[in-house]
C-alpha cells in the first residue's frame, strides 16, 4: 500500500521534473543575488500574488488539454467582478447571493464558448476572441467608467484574510485546494480521462462512444467558472471591482500551462505542472521587481519566456510526430 503510494509520487515527480528544476534554479539564483527574496514574508507574498493567475490557469489547462484555448478568461473575470460590485455595493445585496450569481455568469460565458466550439465547430481562438470582446464591452458598459469599492470584512476575507489560528492566507488555501481537486479529477475520474483523450485524438474519442460535445463544453464552462471565482478573490483582495481588471490574464494563464509542460496540441501535461508554471511566473515577476526592472521591460521579458516555452513545446511535438 505505502509502496504503491510512493510509486505514484515517483511518477508525479518524473513527469514534472523540468518545471520543478527550473523553479528550484530560479529560486536559488534569486536567493543568492537578493537578500530580500529569501525572507519568509517575500515567499508568502509571491504565493499571494500568484493565486489569481493560478486559479484561472486551472481552467485554461483543462481547455488546453482538449487541444483548445480560451482567450476570454481575463474579460470574463472583469465582467463578473463588475457584476459582483454592482450587486453588493450599488444594490446592497448580500454577497451570499451576489457571489454565486456572478460565478454563474462566468460559467454561462464559458458555456457559450463551449457550445460555439463543440457544437457549432468554431475555432476556439475565434470563438473565445469574440467572447473576450463581448465580456469586456459588457463590463465597461455596466461600470460606466467607475471603479466600485466598499465591501464588508466578511466579503474581503477570501482575498485578505487568513485561516483562523494559523495565519495562512485563505486565498493560498483555496488555490491549493483547487489544484488538489482538479489533479484528482484529471487522474482518477472518467471526466479527466476523456478530456485528455479528446486532446489526443478527438475523432477516435467520439468513435469510442464518448460524448465529445459534452466534455468539451464542460471544459470551457469550467474555465469561465474559475475565471469568475478568481474575480471574487481579486475584488476581495483589492477591495474594488474594476471594469478593466483581468486584461492580459489569459496570456499568463496560457504561459503557466505551457511552462508546466502542457502541450498546445492537447492530450498531455498535468495540473501540478501548471501550478509550478504559475509559481515560476510569479517568482520571475517578483525577482524583476526586486531588481528594479521597469514594468514595461518586465512585459518584454515575460513575452520572451512565453515564447521559449511555446518553442520548447513545438520542438517536443515535432519529435513526437
Amino acid at each position: 500500500m505505502t509502496e504503491n503510494v510512493l510509486r505514484r509520487f515517483a511518477r508525479i515527480d518524473k513527469s514534472n521534473i523540468t518545471p520543478a528544476i527550473v523553479l528550484a534554479a530560479l529560486c536559488l539564483i534569486l536567493a543568492v543575488i537578493s537578500p530580500t527574496f529569501r525572507t519568509q514574508d517575500n515567499l508568502v507574498n509571491i504565493l499571494q500574488q500568484v493565486t489569481i493567475n493560478a486559479i484561472i490557469a486551472v481552467g485554461m489547462t483543462l481547455v488546453i488539454f482538449t487541444g483548445g484555448v480560451d482567450l476570454s478568461v481575463g474579460s470574463v473575470l472583469g465582467l463578473s467582478g463588475i457584476v459582483m460590485g454592482i450587486m453588493i455595493v450599488d444594490n446592497k445585496m448580500s454577497p451570499l447571493i451576489a457571489v454565486p450569481v456572478a460565478i454563474a455568469l462566468g460559467a454561462a460565458c464559458g458555456f457559450v464558448n463551449g457550445i460555439l466550439i463543440s457544437k457549432l465547430k468554431l475555432q476556439p481562438m475565434i470563438a473565445t476572441l469574440a467572447m473576450m470582446s463581448m465580456a469586456r464591452g459588457a463590463a465597461l458598459t455596466l461600470a460606466n467608467g467607475k471603479t466600485i469599492t466598499g465591501y464588508s470584512k466578511e466579503f474581503t476575507w477570501i482575498g485578505q484574510g487568513t485561516i483562523p489560528g494559523t495565519g495562512i492566507p485563505v486565498q493560498i488555501v483555496l488555490m491549493l485546494a483547487l489544484y488538489v481537486g482538479f489533479y484528482y479529477l484529471m487522474k482518477y475520474r472518467k471526466t479527466g480521462r476523456y478530456i485528455y483523450a479528446i486532446g489526443g485524438n478527438e475523432e477516435a474519442t467520439r468513435l469510442s462512444g464518448i460524448n465529445v460535445v459534452k466534455y468539451k463544453t464542460l471544459t470551457y464552462t469550467l474555465a469561465g467558472t474559475l475565471a469568475a471565482l478568481a474575480s471574487f478573490v481579486l475584488v476581495a483582495k483589492l477591495n474594488s471591482a474594476q471594469p478593466i481588471a483581468g486584461q492580459d490574464y489569459e496570456l499568463d494563464a496560457i504561459a503557466s500551462a505551457v511552462i508546466g509542460g502542457a502541450s498546445l496540441l492537447g492530450g498531455s501535461g498535468n495540473m501540478w505542472g501548471t501550478l509550478m508554471g504559475a509559481i515560476i511566473i510569479g517568482v520571475i515577476r517578483n525577482g524583476l521587481n526586486l531588481l528594479n526592472v521597469s514594468s514595461n521591460l518586465q512585459k518584454l521579458i515575460l513575452g520572451i519566456i512565453i515564447l521559449i516555452a511555446i518553442l520548447t513545446d513545438a520542438l517536443r511535438n515535432r519529435k513526437r510526430a
Binding site: 475520474r189 480521462r193 485524438n201
Partner: protein
C-alpha cells in the same frame, strides 16, 4: 557473387528502449525478383525495411547496395539511390488532394517556374489508371477509405524511379480486384528488373507472387526459402515455430433473436436502401469490393455518420441513433477500419487506449484504480497476444499488427452485445488471427451478435455463418443456411461485382 544481389543487409541490429527489434538479421534481394518477408506481428519486418529506406537511421550492421557498401542516413538519400517504400501505416496528408499527395514536395513545374497543376493532375491520373484505380485525383484524402489510401500510396511509390520497391502490407485493406491490379504491376516491374520486397500476412498472396521468402521470428533471422513447392502450412510452421492445424475454427450455435436490423438505409448515392439483420449467436459477414459501402453502412448504424432515410431496430425496438455514445448505450460497438485516425490515440499508452470505450472495470471506490485497470487490461492483452514491453508502452511504438490488436482489446473490453468489426484482422498475423476468431466464437456462444466486414474473401467465408454481399451501395446477395455449405469464391465474387443479378433472399 555480390553482383547477383541488389541489396545485401548483414548483421542488422536495431534496439528500441526495452525492445531488441532486430538481432543480427540478414536480408538479400535480387533484381527482378519478389522477396517476401514473413513473420509474426512485431517480428521486425517493418523495422528492417525502415532501415533500408533510411527511416530508422539508428542501426548497427552492414548494407551493400549494388555491390557498394553504404550507410542509410536519410529517406531522401535512399530514395536518390533508388529505394521506394510503401509504409504500412499510411502517411498521406488528409487535407490535400490525391494528386498533391502523390507529388508532395516535387510537383512538376512549368518553364516559368510555377507549379504545373494541370500536368500534375494529368500525371496522377495516368498513375492511377495504370493500377486500374478509379479514385479521383482531385479527391481529398480525408474522404478516402483505408483501401483507397493504400491505392494512393501504391501510386505514389510507383511514381519514383527506383531499383527496389518495398511494399509493407500494401494489400491489407484491398479486395480481390485491387490485389489483382497490383500483382499485374508487380509482374511488370519484375520484368523491368526492379527488385520487390513484399510484406503480407495473407499467405495465399505470398505463394502467388513471391519468389523467395525470408522468415523472421522475434527479431531473429530464421531462414530464406524459395516459394517453389512451398505450402501455407510450412510457412506458418516456420513463422510461429509450431504446426497450426485450424485456420478458421468453427462452433455451432443455434441463433437467437434478431439483435440488429437495418431497413432501407439510404445515404446519398453511397447507400441505396440497404437492409440487413444480425442475430444473436451468429457471425454475420459483409463482403464487397472497394466502394461497395460496407464501412458507410456500419458507420450509419453506429451513429458515427447521419443518413438520409431508413430505420434501425435494436433488439426489436426502433431507435433514432443520434450519436456513437447513444449507440454504445444501446449495446452496439464498432471497431473502425482506420486504426490510426479513428481507432487509437497514438501518443497514449496501451492501457489508456484499451480503457477508452469502457472504464467501468477500472473503477475502484475512489475513482480509477490504476492497479485494477492494469489487471483487467493485462488479461485482454494476453488473450489477443499483443506484443508490448508493458501496458505503459505508447501505442505509436507498437508494430502495425499489435496496434490493431489494441483496438480489438478496446472493444472486447466493453459489454456490448452487438459487435461490429470493420476489417478486424487488418495486418494481424495468422496465429493471432485464429485467436481472434476464437474470441469471436466465444462471443457468439455467449449470445452476442457479431458483424464482420472484411475485404479478405477467405476470411469472410471462413468465419461467417451468413454473408451479405454488397455492390455499389446495395446488397446484391445474401448467402445463408444450406447454401453456405457449398459456397464458392466465384459465387461471392459474382455478387460483389454485380455480374450476378440476383435478388437477395429474405428469410
Amino acid at each position: 557473387m555480390s553482383e547477383k544481389y541488389l541489396v545485401e543487409m548483414e548483421d542488422i541490429t536495431v534496439q528500441f528502449p526495452g525492445v531488441l527489434a532486430l538481432d543480427k538479421v540478414r536480408f538479400r534481394a535480387e533484381p527482378g525478383k519478389v522477396h517476401v518477408l514473413l513473420g509474426e506481428n512485431g517480428a521486425g519486418k517493418s523495422t528492417i525495411m525502415k532501415v533500408l529506406a533510411g527511416v530508422n537511421t539508428d542501426y548497427e550492421g552492414r548494407i551493400r547496395f549494388k555491390g557498394e557498401e553504404i550507410v542509410a542516413r536519410s529517406i531522401d538519400e535512399q530514395r536518390e539511390r533508388g529505394v521506394s517504400i510503401i509504409f504500412q501505416e499510411m502517411n498521406l496528408l488528409k487535407n490535400l488532394t490525391v494528386a498533391e499527395n502523390i507529388f508532395l514536395g516535387r510537383q512538376p513545374t512549368k518553364a516559368s517556374g510555377g507549379i504545373d497543376w494541370t500536368g500534375m493532375y494529368r500525371q496522377a491520373r495516368e498513375l492511377l489508371d495504370s493500377i486500374h484505380s478509379d479514385i479521383s485525383e482531385h479527391a481529398l484524402v480525408s474522404t478516402l477509405s483505408v483501401g483507397q489510401m493504400q491505392m494512393v500510396e501504391i501510386a505514389k511509390a510507383l511514381s519514383f524511379r527506383c531499383d527496389i520497391i518495398i511494399m509493407d502490407e500494401p494489400t491489407s485493406a484491398l479486395t480481390e480486384k485491387e490485389v489483382d491490379a497490383l500483382f499485374e504491376i508487380i509482374s511488370k516491374l519484375k520484368s523491368q528488373g526492379v527488385a520487390i520486397v513484399y510484406i503480407s500476412h495473407r499467405l495465399e498472396e505470398i505463394l502467388r507472387i513471391g519468389d523467395w521468402v525470408t522468415i523472421f521470428r522475434d527479431g531473429k533471422y530464421i531462414d530464406t526459402v524459395t516459394t517453389e513447392g512451398l505450402t501455407t502450412d510450412r510457412m506458418v510452421a516456420m513463422m510461429v515455430g509450431r504446426e497450426m492445424t485450424e485456420y478458421y475454427p468453427k462452433v455451432d450455435v443455434v441463433p437467437g433473436q434478431v439483435m440488429l436490423e437495418a431497413r432501407n438505409i439510404v445515404k446519398g448515392h453511397r447507400l441505396k436502401g440497404v437492409s440487413f439483420t444480425a442475430r444473436a449467436g451468429e457471425i454475420t459477414g459483409f463482403y464487397g469490393l472497394m466502394g461497395a459501402g460496407r464501412t458507410e453502412l456500419m458507420r450509419c448504424v453506429f451513429g458515427a455518420d447521419p443518413f438520409d432515410s431508413g430505420e434501425v431496430l435494436v433488439k426489436g425496438e426502433q431507435q433514432q441513433i443520434k450519436s456513437c455514445e447513444h449507440a454504445k448505450r444501446l449495446g452496439i460497438a464498432l471497431l473502425t477500419e482506420d486504426r490510426k485516425n479513428q481507432g487509437l490515440i497514438l501518443n497514449f499508452d496501451v492501457n489508456t487506449n484499451i480503457s477508452l470505450a469502457n472504464l467501468a472495470p477500472a473503477m475502484g471506490p475512489l475513482g480509477i484504480s490504476h492497479s485494477k485497470e492494469n489487471e483487467n487490461n493485462k488479461v485482454l492483452v494476453e488473450a489477443v497476444r499483443v506484443k508490448t514491453p508493458s501496458l505503459r508502452q505508447l501505442v505509436k511504438n507498437l508494430s502495425g499488427g499489435n496496434q490493431q490488436k489494441v483496438v480489438i482489446c478496446k472493444w472486447l473490453n466493453t459489454t456490448a452485445d452487438i459487435i461490429i468489426f470493420d476489417e478486424p484482422t487488418r495486418g494481424i498475423d495468422v496465429g493471432a488471427k485464429v485467436e481472434i476468431y476464437r474470441i469471436m466464437n466465444s462471443l457468439k456462444e455467449a449470445g452476442k451478435a457479431i458483424i464482420v466486414a472484411s475485404s479478405e474473401l477467405t476470411e469472410c467465408m471462413g468465419i461467417s455463418d451468413r454473408i451479405y454481399v454488397m455492390h455499389e451501395g446495395e446488397v446484391t446477395g445474401l448467402i445463408e443456411g444450406p447454401a453456405m455449405a457449398d459456397l464458392t469464391e466465384q459465387a461471392v465474387v459474382s455478387y460483389a461485382t454485380g455480374s450476378h443479378l440476383h435478388e437477395p433472399e429474405r428469410q
